[in-house]
């Protein structure tokens, strides 16, 4: 019962993080705050993926020599969750780096971090 609740809690926390992240990206005016909101969103997705691979009373998905190959598939946690999270962390860092670089370049050009000022559409 406690284990089920843990998975559920994981999904609830992930949903909160994703919603806060999306809201922050959409409604905050400061570009750095938008960037922080993106990291919250990314963390929420990671938490959701980890929670997805959770198996009640499960074991680490490494097949030991003495393990039963008939029981292992049912007991082992889904290995892809952590695998995807690892990749998502790398992607998140890359995206953050590119966003940060672009924000720095635009800050030097406009002297402001306000999205309403910096991203104002002025066609060449």
């Amino acid at each position: 019962m406690i284990e089920i609740s843990l998975q559920l809690l994981g999904f609830i926390a992930a949903t909160v993080l994703v919603v806060v992240g999306i809201a922050g990206m959409l409604y905050l005016d400061n570009l750095i705050k938008k960037l922080i909101a993106f990291t919250l969103l990314s963390d929420g997705v990671n938490l959701a993926l980890v929670s997805l691979g959770y198996v009640q009373g499960g074991i680490v998905p490494i097949l030991e020599p003495d393990a039963s190959i008939f029981e292992f598939p049912n007991e082992a946690a889904l290995i892809f969750g952590p695998g995807i999270v690892l990749t998502n962390i790398v992607i998140g860092v890359s995206t953050t780096a590119i966003l940060a670089a672009l924000i720095v370049v635009l800050y030097r050009r406009y002297g402001s971090l306000k999205a309403s000022k910096v991203l104002k559409g002025d066609r060449e």
């Binding site: 997705v45 598939p73 892809f80």
Partner: protein, 506 residues
């Protein structure tokens, strides 16, 4: 060439060679001659591999999803999950990656001719953009699909920002912020499908969905479909992302946009096919795709009609014609899928002709692409004017060029499905494309040059050989496919049939 379930090593070379080239040219930075030699050599190498490689699989882990005797790997064995990360290289991949490799070669040749600053990092981004689209086209697992789409979106931002203007940097920032949303959506979609089926391989996942009753879990499948649709819309610049994508197309160097629009169209095809294979049997799935496609066609072409700059016109027309590609796929029929894929192929070719003409006007003619700027280019460069007019004819669906053939198939497919309103929108797009393009072409190329004005193109255009050869080759392909469309059908038909009849087969 025979299809075989063998672990082909030519297939990953299409990814590895461009990645190594990107690393190398990035390190060389500004050593123009060395960068030019390496990047041209690598472009020719991937083109040769794309043309010569046999058909078959390459699997990175586990085993192929389809066995050599035609059976599938999915069995109710003790291991309820299988690690089958694989690429598939078939006729469809061959023609699409072959064309993209040719465009990569032209892009590299033109970039090394027109740019000198920061050439290494710029070409590195070009090569990695190629990698992202090639991976999406070949992959038969969600893991590679997700990584390639994410990589592709970051590279689009890099390619756009590298043009150095404030508008381009803003476009790149907005696009990257949205990529964060779409990328997260794609990750969740992947996680949900994985959670439902236990398979990361698309073939295995489809087979599981077809042979198991999901019961109350169908709602989860719909959520996964919604998130995958978000990624599809984002990768292809469909409604409602079209303003971001048109900004991107407009802001990059025109030769960069050649590769950007190729990447977008090919990703639209690849992800669209995955969506049809996986969710095609879900009620409303193709309807949702169709509505998005029709809205994209309408919004794109209406925006193109009100622009006064050829680059903006092309940016919106590329978006609008993306809708033509997806409308075919969304119909979900054999003819519709053939029409959609053929339209993607044709669209990439004629839009590249027009974009290279823009490159000539801007960087070799030292002028502008605005219709209010001077005129009389046809007198100074008759060849360029001829290429622009013929490219615009192909884009407008005028015979004997390739655009006509694919739009005809799309019309037939829409009417066959009992959707005359969709056929009417396709016709409207075709006519509006003609009006938007020829209004600009008349003002820039055909209208007499005003006397005594400071706003004029310098002297006589000297068209570099690489640009001339690129335009001749692309126009020849456009004409050949317009007269002999069956040349392309022999590559496309099999894939379209598989999607309709045996969707689990890549």
């Amino acid at each position: 060439m025979n299809e075989a379930v063998t672990n082909l090593w030519s297939v990953p070379l299409l990814i590895i060679i461009p990645i190594l080239t990107a690393i190398l040219v990035n390190l060389l930075y500004n050593k123009t001659k060395a960068i030019r030699a390496i990047s041209v050599g690598a472009s020719i190498a991937v083109l040769a591999i794309a043309v010569l490689s046999p058909y078959g699989f390459h699997w990175f882990a586990g085993h192929p999803a389809v066995n050599s005797d035609g059976t599938y790997t999915f069995t109710a064995s003790v291991f309820s999950w299988k690690l089958s990360l694989e690429y598939y290289y078939g006729p469809l991949q061959q023609i699409l990656i072959g064309l993209m490799s040719l465009l990569l070669l032209f892009t590299v040749l033109i970039a090394t001719k027109s740019l000198s600053k920061n050439l290494g990092p710029y070409l590195a981004i070009i090569f990695l953009t190629y990698v992202s689209a090639a991976a999406v086209l070949m992959t038969n697992d969600f893991y590679h699909l997700w990584i390639a789409v994410e990589l592709g979106s970051l590279l689009v931002a890099g390619l756009v920002a590298s043009s150095g203007t404030a508008y381009a940097q803003k476009a790149a920032l907005k696009y990257t912020f949205f990529s964060a949303l779409a990328g997260s959506g794609l990750a969740i979609s992947l996680g949900l499908i994985l959670g439902l089926t236990g398979y990361v391989n698309i073939t295995d996942a489809i087979h599981f969905l077809m042979s198991n009753d999901l019961g109350g879990m169908y709602a989860v499948l719909y959520v996964a479909f919604a998130f995958l649709t978000l990624a599809w819309v984002y990768a292809g610049g469909l409604v409602p992302v079209h303003p971001l994508k048109s900004d991107v197309y407009r802001s990059a160097f025109p030769h960069g946009t050649v590769l950007l629009q190729t990447q977008s169209k090919l990703m639209l095809v690849a992800i669209g096919i995955v969506m049809l294979r996986l969710f095609g049997s879900l009620p409303f799935a193709t309807d949702v795709m169709l509505v998005i496609s029709v809205l994209t066609m309408i919004f794109g072409v209406v925006m193109a009609l009100i622009q006064t700059d050829l680059r903006w016109i092309l940016a919106y027309l590329i978006v609008s014609h993306s809708g033509l590609v997806t409308v075919g796929l969304s119909l979900g029929t054999y003819r519709g899928i053939v029409g959609g894929i053929f339209q993607a192929l044709n669209d990439v070719i004629y839009m590249s002709i027009l974009l290279i003409c823009c490159e000539m006007l801007l960087y070799f003619g030292k002028g502008s692409t605005s219709i209010k700027f001077g005129g009389g280019v046809a007198k100074k460069s008759p060849w360029l004017a001829a290429f622009a007019v013929l490219g615009a004819m192909a884009a407008s669906g005028i015979p004997p060029f390739n655009g006509f053939q694919s739009e005809l198939i799309l019309l037939q497919a829409a009417l066959e499905q009992g959707l005359p309103e969709v056929a009417a929108v396709i016709l409207m797009v075709s006519v509006s494309t003609f009006v938007a393009l020829f209004r600009a072409i008349y003002s820039i190329f055909l209208k007499p040059e005003p006397e005594k004005t400071s706003e004029s193109y310098v002297g006589r255009f000297k068209m570099p050989d690489v640009v001339f050869i690129s335009l001749v080759v692309l126009l020849s392909i456009s004409l050949i496919l317009g007269v002999y469309p069956q040349l392309a059908f022999s590559f496309i038909n099999e894939s379209a049939l598989k999607v309709v009849l045996v969707p689990w087969v890549p």
